[in-house]
């Protein structure tokens, strides 16, 4: 009885089961085929960020840069990707350490087979691996590091492009102002003893020579120094009424605090480092408003920038670092435009296209009209920089008659 029932049940079930099974198999096959077809058509293009997002104080700009690239990838994928393929964004933290940065770079190129690398945060790391990018023909769009030497490449082909501050250009802009300012009669250079400060000093000295300008005092301090009164006393004794400072955010904060201790307030001109969170934090609400510095975008003026800020602004501990996201966003747009123009994502093709972009690219910082050429790999130059200062806790535009009177010929480099 039992057997009969079970057989009966089985046979009862067998009849409708067969077509169901076939249908299932058919559906599975169809799904698999579609998937593989889709995979062929839209195999994602891997792109990567290799930079410091945790290790050094400048990691802040790396973290924000990653947000900017992420937003650009989202936007590009929404409009159908690049060459009909979606972008897949990988993030590698180099911890601010050159050996780790090199390891990431070879891993991204050889194993992950990415099409482009963005970053890094620290100039030293870019200098540590730029030969790898050039040898392996990997396009790199530098979105943050500012050392002048990064985009100087071999004649065989330079694969590094930049949309960021360039130290040499910053030195050129700052000294153009100082030279033009009738109130600046004696200038002093204050630099950190780090690679950043020393490279900055070299740029400053060379450009000062072009202007026939002689600093009355050159003082150095350690990046960990918290008391610069001895250096400032010397500059004061030498009669310096204007200081050009090359330092990171925190020591810059301690420098203005030391100025207060001596009650010696020469005009201070400095780099974008003053927009990093460490500066207002250390300098405090009153002293932070003293220096004038350069940024790539101080106030958000376009609707696109406002909308990007609305998306990632809430994630920023310091909204004044939004420029890091804008620049990084633009690097992705420029690379995507080059890949579309080349019809290919291969390194050589993309590099050639970047050097001869035939359509303007509307970015967050500006509209890039033929930004690069075979000899020019800087997306932003001195004339694109914004003169800025802190006011009521925000970075705002700085304007004065000297600035208004600056002509292109004043920028020597």
């Amino acid at each position: 009885m039992k057997n009969t029932t079970s057989t009966g049940t089985a046979s009862n079930n067998t009849a409708p089961a067969r077509p169901r099974l076939t249908a299932l198999l058919g559906a599975a096959a169809a799904v698999l085929m579609t998937a593989s077809l889709q995979a062929q058509a839209a195999d994602p293009i891997k792109i990567a960020y290799n930079g410091d997002i945790s290790g050094s104080p400048s990691a802040e700009s790396g973290q924000i840069g990653v947000l900017g690239i992420g937003a650009a990838v989202e936007d590009i994928n929404k409009r159908g990707g690049v060459l009909g393929r979606p972008l897949e964004f990988l993030v590698r933290d180099d911890l601010g350490q050159p050996p780790k940065a090199i390891q990431n770079m070879t891993d991204l190129i050889d194993r992950e087979k990415v099409s482009v690398v963005f970053g890094p945060t620290n100039s030293g790391n870019a200098l540590a691996w730029k030969h790898i990018a050039n040898q392996k023909r990997m396009p790199v769009l530098v979105s943050s590091a500012s050392s002048t030497a990064i985009t100087e490449g071999p004649s065989s082909g330079n694969y590094l492009f930049r949309v960021s501050m360039v130290d040499r250009e910053q030195a050129s802009a700052l000294l153009a102002y100082v030279k033009k300012n009738p109130e600046a009669k004696a200038v002093g250079f204050f630099v950190e003893t780090t690679g950043y400060g020393q490279a900055g000093l070299k740029d400053l000295e060379q450009i000062a020579a072009l202007h026939d300008m002689k600093p009355v005092s050159i003082e150095k301090f350690d990046a960990r120094d918290t008391d610069m009164t001895s250096q400032l006393s010397k500059a004061k004794a030498a009669g310096a009424d204007t200081l050009v400072v090359w330092a990171q955010a925190a020591p810059l904060g301690h420098l203005v605090r030391s100025m207060e201790k001596l009650d010696y307030f020469p005009k201070v001109f400095t780099t974008w480092a003053a927009s990093f969170s460490g500066f207002p934090e250390v300098a405090g609400p009153k002293l932070m408003e003293w220096p004038v510095f350069l940024t790539t975008s101080s106030e958000r003026k376009s609707a696109e920038a406002e909308s990007l800020f609305a998306r990632i602004g809430p994630k920023l501990a310091n909204p004044s670092m939004f420029w890091a996201a804008s620049q990084a966003y633009d690097t992705v747009l420029l690379w995507a435009a080059a890949a579309e123009q080349a019809g290919d994502t291969k390194g050589e093709a993309v590099r050639a296209a970047l050097e001869s972009l035939n359509k303007p690219v509307a970015g967050m910082v500006k509209t890039y009209d033929k930004p690069f050429s075979a000899t020019q790999h800087e997306g932003l130059t001195a004339a694109d920089y914004h003169w800025s200062r802190w006011k009521d806790g925000k970075v705002v535009d700085f304007n004065d008659p000297v600035l208004a009177g600056l002509q292109p010929a004043d920028f020597k480099k």
């Binding site: 104080p57 150095k220 250096q231 207060e260 009650d263 460490g278």
Partner: protein, 298 residues
């Protein structure tokens, strides 16, 4: 000049506090806490956190900031002191009194764990802890000072004096000195040696935490600030003599002064002069200026 001397003495007194911490653990356990620097930085951030939490809980103006700051200093000293116990239990006790250098790695390791944990909570950036008596500069002739420099100077000297007194006059102080002098004899006399060792670690970690809160309004707090302070503190202990608490204090002040007076001439020579001094002292008096030779039994 006056500016440099006050600045030098201020930082020097902090080095002295750290050096005293090294002295405490060295004399009682023959080990050094190489995580001392991380206790300084983390202590500063515990102070910052305490101020933040109390301000949020009580409202900004409920009590004067001076009291908030004092509470923050106590909280940092307590928190770091309590953290000194697991450091002692995990990283020191298995190796204390035994030959070998395993404790070097275990204390450094403990410091890295502490720093990494703190990094994940507070992040990388520099923070400013407001000074309890305001940030205004007041002037004496050409020189300008901030109130916190005097606070640090006065408090550090007070703490150093109190320690000096406690080591000579209180029971626990005498126990520590007994253990330092002869561990076996102290144990035979009924002193609970492991407890005294643990107390030494508690006290030295608490000193480090307190130093962190003291210097944070001057140096700005960052999780990397402790390393160099601890290194200078260690140099101070080496110069003054690791075995002599008063020597350690003197060493700290000496290093602070050498540092700031060298900076008057050339800031870049500062570290060079400090470590030249260490080498010079060691060459002439291998146990430090006021140290005493200890025989390590192997």
């Amino acid at each position: 000049m006056l500016q440099a001397i006050i600045g030098g003495l201020t930082l020097g007194s902090v080095y002295a506090l750290i050096a005293l911490g090294f002295n405490l653990t060295y004399t009682t356990t023959r080990t050094l806490n190489f995580a001392q620097g991380d206790f300084v930085s983390v202590g500063a951030f515990v102070g910052l956190g305490t101020v933040g939490v109390l301000t949020a809980a009580l409202g900004a103006d409920a009590v004067g900031y001076v009291w908030l700051y004092a509470l923050a200093a106590v909280a940092a000293a307590l928190a770091m002191g309590v953290l000194g116990l697991p450091l002692y239990l995990a990283a020191i006790r298995p190796f204390a009194g035994k030959p070998g250098m395993s404790w070097v790695v275990s204390t450094i390791g403990f410091g890295i764990v502490l720093q990494s944990a703190a990094l994940s909570v507070w992040g990388l950036g520099a923070r400013m802890l407001p000074a309890p008596f305001g940030d205004e500069v007041f002037r004496v002739g050409e020189a300008g000072f901030r109130s916190q420099e005097l606070v640090v100077l006065v408090l550090a000297f007070a703490i150093l004096g109190a320690f000096d007194l406690a080591m000579r006059r209180t029971a626990i102080g005498r126990c520590m000195r007994a253990v330092a002098l002869n561990r076996d004899a102290a144990a035979l006399m009924g002193i609970d040696v492991p407890r005294v060792m643990a107390m030494a670690f508690l006290a030295s970690s608490a000193l480090a935490g307190l130093s962190g809160v003291l210097v944070a309004p001057i140096l700005s707090a960052s999780l990397f600030m402790g390393v160099i302070i601890a290194l200078k503190g260690f140099s101070a202990a080496i110069i003054g003599g690791l075995t002599n608490p008063r020597g350690c204090m003197a060493g700290g002040l000496l290093i602070g002064l050498v540092e700031s007076l060298t900076a008057l001439w050339s800031a870049q020579w500062r570290e060079i002069m400090v470590f030249l001094l260490v080498i010079l002292v060691l060459a002439m008096a291998p146990n430090g200026l006021f140290g005493r030779k200890l025989v390590e039994k192997v």
